[in-house]
Subunit: 482 residues, 2 copies
């Protein structure tokens, strides 16, 4: 007897006719004491199990309820129903686990459409819903595509530290990691906290980025990337922020900013293409969901393309590349700026771009993904390479429709004197980053890299709206359940 996952069996289709098979899964519905829709998580589609209720005892039949778990033996037959080639005529059914209908009613396991917000409180159970399972499978495909892309292109995966003693990255507020008993923190003679007694002998935090460490690796291994969790202790309760999220950071020796932009575009297209090819059913399901959602939107808010069209559009078009200076000109002369519709009006060069400006460029002006580059030095990080104009740095951001910034990157400052001056100007302690400066001493080279927040990419590809719905267990202010 062949033991198949439901996805495997459905893929085999009519080739499996007459086979005796074993199928296991959870009941999605049980109609007319005859039709069981069974799902095992392997894919979006259920297999229909047909039972002749005369063949089974009443006790077994009673336990076939929504969400209960079954072991089924039976023969594969041609399906008379629409939308499915095959079904399984059950000869034996074993109940692995019964689910009390009243309990199920109260929780999320109903086949009806659940409120996504309610589901978040039941994060441990939402893997059993069609929407969240589809999102998780797309997230899985994108994660694999990321590793495969870098593997194919000769990058070495590097695990930069999660717990870091480095305090100088300046990318945001950091969580403290400690092994102190918080009721009794040791102090030194001067009344200050004696971190030398803590586990690591110093103050330690959760990383906000692996970039600086990845740079040191690229200086030996050439092409490297990180892919791991990063953290922000920022009190932002929005649909776009998480306190814990997964970040991908490639870093490449001998790359300048042009190479970096090429890499970012090629990489994004590869990942999206991979998802389209490997998540057909799930993306079709999410596309329907997206279209349903669009129906409730005003004409203004409505997307011109459905989800699948949006993905194809990104694949087929070359991203627009535009300097910050050109962008400012466009924004200054734009209708919403002149009619004072922007919340932050653009009146001079040097202004930091807000989400409204990025979205105007991408969604209204160009109707295309945009790569902005050569930003004012003052609004960017210390490690970005200074241009000869001494005003701008070799930074670039990739902006996506509906998402805004999906990638941020730069060519790094490889000239030690320029770097030191920059650190001095920005009050960054050289002693803290002695090891970072070292990489500019022993055969420094031009190099570049970028960061991609995985959840932003998953949001874009799944068409979901809230970042909490694309990660299994979201961490946000006042929320670390499970």
């Amino acid at each position: 007897m062949n033991d198949y996952s439901i996805k495997e069996l459905l893929a085999k289709g009519k080739k499996a006719l007459q086979e005796e098979v074993v199928i296991k899964g959870w009941v999605r519905s049980f109609r007319s004491n005859q039709f069981i829709a069974l799902n095992d998580g392997s894919g979006q589609n259920n297999i229909q199990i047909i039972i002749n209720y005369n063949d089974f005892d009443t006790e077994t039949l009673k336990q076939i309820t929504t969400a209960s778990a079954l072991y089924v033996e039976g023969k594969v037959a041609e399906s008379k129903g629409a939308g499915q080639e095959i079904e399984v005529m059950a000869s034996k059914i074993k109940i692995y686990g019964y689910a009390v209908p009243e309990d199920v009613q109260e929780t999320i396991l109903q086949p009806k459409r659940h409120s996504l917000e309610k589901l978040r409180e039941q994060a441990h159970l939402r893997f059993r819903t069609n929407t969240f399972a589809a999102v998780m499978r797309v997230r899985n495909a994108l994660s694999f595509a990321i590793h495969q892309y870098f593997n194919k292109n000769g990058f070495c995966y590097i695990n930069t530290p999660i717990i870091t003693g480095s305090d100088a990255e300046g990318a945001g507020e950091m969580f403290t990691v400690t092994n102190f008993n918080l009721d009794n923190i040791p102090k030194n003679k001067n009344g200050n906290i004696d971190f030398s007694q803590d586990f690591f002998g110093k103050k330690t935090n959760l990383t906000v980025s692996g970039q600086l460490e990845a740079e040191t690796a690229a200086m030996g291994l050439g092409k490297v990337y990180t892919f791991g969790p990063t953290f922000r202790a920022e009190n932002s309760n929005t649909t776009r922020h998480l306190a814990e999220f997964w970040m991908v950071e490639p870093e490449v020796a001998f790359y300048d900013l042009e190479h970096d932009m090429d890499l970012a575009e090629d990489f994004l297209k590869y990942c999206i293409q991979y998802a389209i090819e490997n998540c057909k059913e799930d993306l079709e399901f999410l596309n329907k969901r997206f279209e349903e959602e669009q129906k409730q939107k005003s004409k203004e808010e409505k997307s011109e393309q459905n989800l699948l069209e949006k993905l194809e559009f990104v694949l087929k078009n070359k991203f627009i590349r535009l300097s910050y200076t050109e962008a400012i000109e466009i924004l200054k002369n734009s209708k919403p700026n002149q009619k004072k519709k922007f919340k932050y009006l653009i009146d001079e060069w040097g202004a930091d771009l807000q989400s409204e400006h990025e979205r105007y460029l991408v969604e209204k002006h160009f109707k295309s993904p945009v790569v902005l580059y050569d930003y004012p030095a003052k609004i960017k990080a210390f490690y970005m390479r200074l241009n000869d104009d001494h005003k701008t740095v070799r930074a670039m951001d990739v902006l996506f429709p509906g998402i805004g910034e999906i990638i941020g990157g730069s060519q790094r400052e490889e000239r030690i004197d320029v770097l030191k001056q920059k650190m001095k100007d920005m009050n960054i302690d050289e002693k803290e980053l002695w090891w970072y400066l070292d990489t500019r001493k022993f055969g420094t080279v031009p190099h570049s890299g970028f960061g991609l927040g995985l959840e932003r990419l998953v949001l874009f590809v799944t068409g979901m709206n809230n970042i909490r719905d694309v990660i299994p267990f979201p961490r946000t202010p006042k929320n670390a359940e499970f």
Copy 2:
């Protein structure tokens, strides 16, 4: 002009003869003002660059020092030297970054053999050494193999939370994560710490395992795995322990312990096979290193096989499967037990096995990887499935030569009543794990999983001795530099 990585060019070999190429990298050595050995991190082997010193100005020649970074244009020619098919006759050289010989002398960048211990203090520079770069490339290959194995077999990658509010997993001491100002921790009326004012509104820690969360995912998605950092706040300064390490945890619905053991064996063999196929040069280099090291060992300590033979041996042989009870019998009657050579003598059933016992079974008695199963319930975690003897649980450990436990897993207790009783007996609060118990309420199924510490696998495959030498930036007591 073709822009190759050194690995690509060497792979092309004689097919590249007469091609004009661009090569970039760091100088490993410069002999006789004529032969430059250049490496760019893409692989173990250097390309030889030949220069006619009459063609270059003195200033350029002076800057070609060990560790300096070069851009080279030239024509590919047949090599007259041994051990290399091709070399590059330089027509143009640009110095990207000079390295002062005196500075290099003081650091680790000498082509001589460096002390691994010294290198750890220079973790940011050790990517430039042959040994560490080889280890990193093998680590990269193993990480990719892990993702590829699970991807091919229909597993969904799940990112379980790093910051967790769950305190009941009991796998070891946990680090505290907080956003409190440690100088001024808020207290409530009763003088206790007011965690409701902390970022997450409760006490939070760094995860020690994603298993319990992964189980909830497997209950919807069927086959899942985690692969991410985990943490132990244990003050163990050994060659086998890290405070931060990467763990792989598959969890599979409908799997019993037999399936779990099959999965573990197949998975390990796949990863090792992948490394052998994809890291030939690096493993040959590490094999030589291993053989050199063996020469300094006493007859007693000496390994019977070299590194490559050890890897092949694991691939070719079926792992021995042995119950705990059988293992105790063997150990009781073993020479070292009877001659009282074991530090911990085995005299009765129920004893926890120590590393010396595991290594005796693997290295002396069976001379093979061993899977031990059905351990006494008392020495194992609450979530492992109780056998009908009410004394043992469906646990299994995979033991490897030189490493000891490389995988630990179990079939999970899916029966809610048995699970609750176990938690009560072990003083684990039901309220803390309400969500874990929930998965046993709504269609519970038999399921199993295991955990693999990535660094243990990298140690085994590279033949390195200290776990700090197989992770880029090791975190250990009193050490969180970089």
